[in-house]
């Protein structure tokens, strides 16, 4: 039975068919399969391979533009650095090298592709890792039959230039692509959420990056080291405490107490990681002080990497507590923390505070929590509750603690954070009914567009966005956002040409730093690609 071609195909071919010679939809198209593993590639011309790569500290996500998700996420752990022909992992009884002590400075670093602090970084090693990861991804997942025509690379917006140079030169040499466009991960995240302005909270591996985006321009940027690495380290600490307790009790038969590392912690995070609600966490911490914790419900955690395997019984609450202490930093006074160590709710709050009020209103209704840790159940709600609490208690007052002084204004006026009486908040249904009046049955539609009606309609939608209330928006992720862009053939802001890069390197681009006119920080904008200034282009914010 052959499936009927899905409607979107027809849409696509109708959109593009007069424009270019178009391959007819393949007869062999099988709907069921395509829907399982990706978009029907007949949407694209068959021969076009638009690659999309998203670089993170621990992962490299690789896939085809126009598909909803990446094909594969390459990792950079010690196992991935193995020599070719080293088959020890398949030996019975093989164990990885023991984990680094929890107190060590570089805990978890061996699982990173790079450290943003490039002073100590071996760039050639980074090159080797990227080269191998890209080659493996191509070999096992992409299986390109033709060289890709275009490549989109998603990078953090604050990215050291030496690393950028390494990334580009490695990609140019390992995949023969004529040009690479670079897009910042926060913009891609916004596109993946369908919004134009937002506050992106990327709870990544090494750091949480908070970027405010207005109309696809990055406005502010801040960060905190409270992110995935901290979370896993706290979990590893928890596990190791329990293991050593067991060994001290003599419950385990023999052997020396094993040290559990990142892999075990990650297993616990994937299976049992969660966050409590703010109120629950508060009452629990009070109860903890008075009560003994013996009657708390416990979860079994089976550790198979030790010899012999052990089963730990850890209170379910403690897992949440460990994650929360890593991210929300309750228990340590704010003033004791460095700026880069501030809790993520405070970092978000300060980012919002730093915005002009109009932008803040828009952004606070479009907070996007993304990144590897974002899927921990309960985390988004907790962030929302923490923010609500901060806004309620402090208002939009830049001074957090007046000490013995008094606030300039009574705080009660700030209770309602953004009183915006003028702004109406139409629900989507309002929009629908409004546009319903203009609805013309298809048979009566004129083929020509009506520019006035069109602009009115667009303006109506644009002028009345939801704002002023705290709201979290979900994103498809930065990779998917970049995939959308690649598929829509939207030129990235930064297009690096292969020949020119190989000839001049990044130095050639840095000269054009000011070509886009605006301040570098906000320069996700003019002066690019189709705007006409083809000869003039720059590294944008990465200059």
């Amino acid at each position: 039975m052959r499936a009927r071609p899905s409607p979107s195909q027809i849409t696509a071919s109708a959109l593009s068919s007069p424009n270019s010679p178009h391959t007819p939809i393949a007869g062999a198209y099988s709907r069921s399969l395509a829907s399982l593993y990706g978009s029907p590639s007949s949407l694209m011309h068959r021969d076009e391979n638009f690659l999309v790569l998203e670089f993170g500290s621990r992962y490299l996500r690789v896939g085809f533009g126009g598909e909803h998700a990446h094909r594969v996420a390459m990792t950079f752990g010690p196992e991935d650095e193995r020599r070719v022909g080293d088959f020890r992992p398949w030996l019975p009884g093989y164990r990885e090298d023991g984990p680094v002590s929890l107190e060590a400075q570089g805990w978890g670093n061996e699982y990173e592709l790079w450290d943003m602090d490039t002073r100590e970084l071996d760039l050639d090693l980074v090159r080797d890792k990227i080269e191998r990861a890209v080659r493996l991804a191509e070999r096992t997942n992409l299986m390109l039959d033709l060289l890709p025509r275009k490549m989109t690379v998603v990078l953090p917006s604050v990215f050291p230039r030496p690393l950028l140079s390494v990334v580009l030169s490695t990609l140019f040499s390992s995949i023969q692509v004529p040009s690479i466009s670079i897009i910042s991960s926060s913009i891609a995240t916004a596109i993946g959420a369908g919004v134009r302005s937002c506050l992106v909270v990327d709870v990544g591996w090494a750091e949480t990056r908070i970027t405010s985006v207005a109309e696809y321009r990055e406005i502010t940027h801040s960060r905190s080291v409270r992110a995935g690495k901290r979370v896993l380290r706290e979990l590893a600490k928890l596990l190791n405490e329990q293991v050593s307790k067991r060994f001290a009790d003599g419950q385990s038969e023999s052997g020396k107490c094993p040290t559990l590392g990142l892999n075990e912690a990650e297993e616990v995070l994937y299976r049992l990681g969660w966050c409590r609600q703010l109120a629950d966490a508060r009452s629990a911490s009070k109860a903890n002080l008075s009560n003994d914790e013996t009657d708390l419900p416990r979860s079994d955690i089976e550790i198979t990497t030790t010899d012999p395997p052990v089963t730990l019984q850890i209170p379910f609450q403690d897992i949440a507590a460990a994650i929360e202490s890593a991210l929300f930093a309750h228990g340590s006074a704010t003033k004791d923390l460095d700026d880069h160590e501030q809790s993520i709710q405070l970092a978000i709050f300060r980012s919002l505070l730093a915005l002009p009020i109009d932008v803040r209103k828009i952004c606070m209704s479009r907070i996007i929590v993304t990144g590897g840790i974002a899927n921990v159940p309960g985390l988004k709600r907790r962030i929302k509750q923490e923010l609500e609490y901060l806004i309620q208690t402090r208002g939009w007052d830049p001074v957090g603690d007046y000490g013995k002084g008094r606030p300039r204004r009574p705080r009660t006026t700030n209770k309602n954070p953004t009183p915006s009486p003028g702004a109406t908040k139409p629900t989507p249904t309002d929009n629908d009914s409004a546009s319903e009046e203009e609805y013309i049955p298809p048979a009566h539609r004129t083929p020509d567009p009506d520019p006035i009606a069109l602009s009115i309609q667009n303006r109506r939608a644009a002028t009345a966005p939801i704002q002023g209330m705290l709201r979290l928006v979900e994103t498809q992720g930065a990779w998917s956002g970049a995939s959308l862009l690649a598929f829509l053939r939207v030129k990235g802001v930064v297009e690096v040409d292969r020949d020119r890069f190989l000839k001049e390197g990044l130095a050639g681009y840095a000269k054009d730093k000011d070509a886009d006119g605006g301040p570098t920080r906000k320069s996700f904008g003019p002066g690019i690609g189709a705007a006409g200034e083809r000869g003039k282009w720059s590294l944008g914010m990465w200059a």
Binding site: L33, S39, A69, P162, G378, S435, P442, F524
Partner: protein, 525 residues
């Protein structure tokens, strides 16, 4: 990070080439001291990326250099399924996700291949297809760990086209709601006439958007793929409408020129009107594109329903046992990326493999070209390093109790020593322990025998060099003496035809002795 001691790795120089290039490009010119430090250090982390067993290397006869996987370019000859060995036609592989579309599946628990089994039923329902001998329903079953699709509540009425049947069924057996791929009805209603072609769509399913269809019990969020297509349709619509007739100069407003690919609209998605935040209602000029406003346009809010779903997940976590949660490794494959519980796992369709031709990265000469047929293991062209480079193997001449005397070893086949080391490292693993006779001991001289095998028909001259003192944790500070630093290895005298020669490997060998005097304490391994 070392394998058992007696092993031989070959270092390909391509890694150094790229790095020096880079240094020239990106950094200040490095001084001459850098040159001195470029001697290859097998203990550095980088060495893992450029060291290869000789069996993995090719040899370019034009460039006279070995070629490792990173300095060859590859071309796919065919795609095939590793389970059923059927070749996949290149026209469909990409839309099938580069996976087998036949009845091949791997177990999501243990990755073994699954088999299609019939559930024997007391009274098989009358089947209109006479071809079916066994009554359905059918299941996929893992012969290794006994997992089956019954565990996730899925059975198949037919034993063929499992892939198609699986795609239509959710875990638990409920049918998957039809994919809502088209711009949804609400978006269509607000469409301006430019996009009239959208109305040409056949629309029997167009009104069953995901929001109105019965929600599957486990998923509160729309399928990520559906949402992606909502977003895609939304952006396409935005790109095609907000540009229409509004850009000065676009006089012809035929829909074709306003497609998402048209250059006039391309730049606008990203960098429109930076001032539009402050002046939210621009009085003149084109209207700004707007953001997605409804779920049909791809907007997804973290709302009360999402919080309730989180609560349900947390409750399930708390009440169920450790092994009911999907592990990190079970979530590795893209099929099960979002699975939280073992019950959410789906059978994994195996990724295809490829046969590839390899060319020299420098001169484009074909170095290897397998035969096109999937089941053939022969090659049309194969320029191996094994046939062109001397093969080295090294082994300790240790205490006579554990090692055969030197005479025996020389008479044996040195190559086999090397091979065993690779294929079954267990044999060599004891050598790693400090108590083994191979390990370096303080103030004890250890002898090693280096054997060179020359596959060429010309004799070669060999010069050996070694650092005067060893570094690294295995015997730091030990002194190395090469007893025979220069010697000649005679030509391969076997002039028989190539095929025969491969079977009767008879080549000239010469051996050199190394001694290592262990100095100081050996750090425990």
């Amino acid at each position: 990070m070392s394998v058992s001691f007696p092993y031989t790795y070959y270092a390909c120089s391509c890694a150094d080439n790229t790095s020096t290039q880079e240094k020239r490009v990106s950094q200040e010119p490095q001084s001459a001291q850098d040159e001195d430090e470029r001697t290859f250090d097998p203990r550095s982390r980088r060495s893992n990326f450029s060291l290869y067993p000789i069996e993995h290397l090719l040899y370019c006869t034009e460039c006279h250099e070995m070629r490792c996987p990173r300095c060859v370019t590859e071309e796919v000859i065919c795609w095939y399924c590793p389970n059923c060995l059927f070749e996949a036609p290149s026209s469909t592989i990409k839309q099938e996700g580069h996976r087998c579309s036949r009845n091949c599946f791997n177990c999501p628990i243990c990755t073994s291949p699954l088999s299609v089994n019939s559930l024997e039923q007391p009274d098989p329902p009358p089947d209109d297809k006479p071809a079916n001998k066994f009554g359905g329903p059918y299941i996929l079953h893992c012969p290794y760990c006994a997992w089956s699709t019954l565990d996730i509540g899925i059975t198949f009425p037919r034993p063929s086209n499992i892939t198609g049947q699986l795609a239509k069924t959710l875990n638990g057996g409920l049918p998957r709601p039809p994919r809502d791929r088209k711009p949804s009805s609400s978006l269509k209603r607000s469409d301006p006439p430019t996009t009239h072609h959208l109305d040409d769509l056949p629309s029997p399913t167009s009104d069953t958007s995901t929001s109105s269809s019965p929600e599957p019990p486990s998923a509160r969020t729309p399928d990520p793929q559906d949402r992606y297509h909502h977003l895609l349709a939304f952006y396409k619509h935005q790109l095609s409408t907000s540009d229409a007739a509004l850009l000065p100069g676009t006089t012809s407003t035929s829909a074709s020129e306003l497609g998402p690919g048209s250059p006039s609209s391309i730049a606008r998605l990203l960098h429109m009107y930076g001032s539009s935040i402050r002046s939210r209602a621009p009085e003149s000029g084109p209207s700004p594109m707007r953001e997605a406003a409804t779920p049909e346009e791809g907007l997804l809010i973290y709302d009360a329903a999402a919080e309730a779903a989180d609560d349900a997940t947390i409750r399930a976590m708390q009440t169920t046992a450790w092994d009911t949660h999907a592990s990190v490794s079970q979530r590795l494959d893209a099929t099960n990326r979002h699975a939280r519980a073992v019950d959410d796992l789906r059978p994994i369709s195996p990724l295809l493999r490829t046969k590839r031709a390899k060319r020299c990265g420098a001169c484009r000469q074909i170095l290897a070209k397998p035969e096109g047929k999937v089941t053939s293991v022969r090659s049309k062209i194969k320029l191996l390093a094994l046939q062109n480079l001397p093969k080295l193997s090294i082994k300790p001449l240790a205490s006579p109790s554990t090692m055969p005397p030197p005479g025996t070893s020389a008479a044996g086949r040195p190559t086999s020593t090397l091979l065993t080391t690779f294929s079954s490292p267990t044999l060599a693993l004891p050598a790693l322990s400090p108590s083994s006779p191979f390990a370096l001991r303080p103030l004890t001289t250890t002898h090693y025998l280096l054997t060179l095998t020359n596959p060429l028909y010309d004799s070669i001259r060999v010069h050996l060099a070694a650092p005067s003192a060893l570094r690294g944790r295995h015997g730091a500070g030990s002194r190395v003496t090469i007893l025979c630093p220069q010697f000649e290895v005679g030509a391969n005298t076997d002039r028989r035809k190539k095929g025969e020669r491969e079977r009767v490997e008879k080549v000239r060998r010469e051996e050199a002795f190394w001694t290592v005097l262990g100095v100081g304490r050996i750090v425990g391994l």
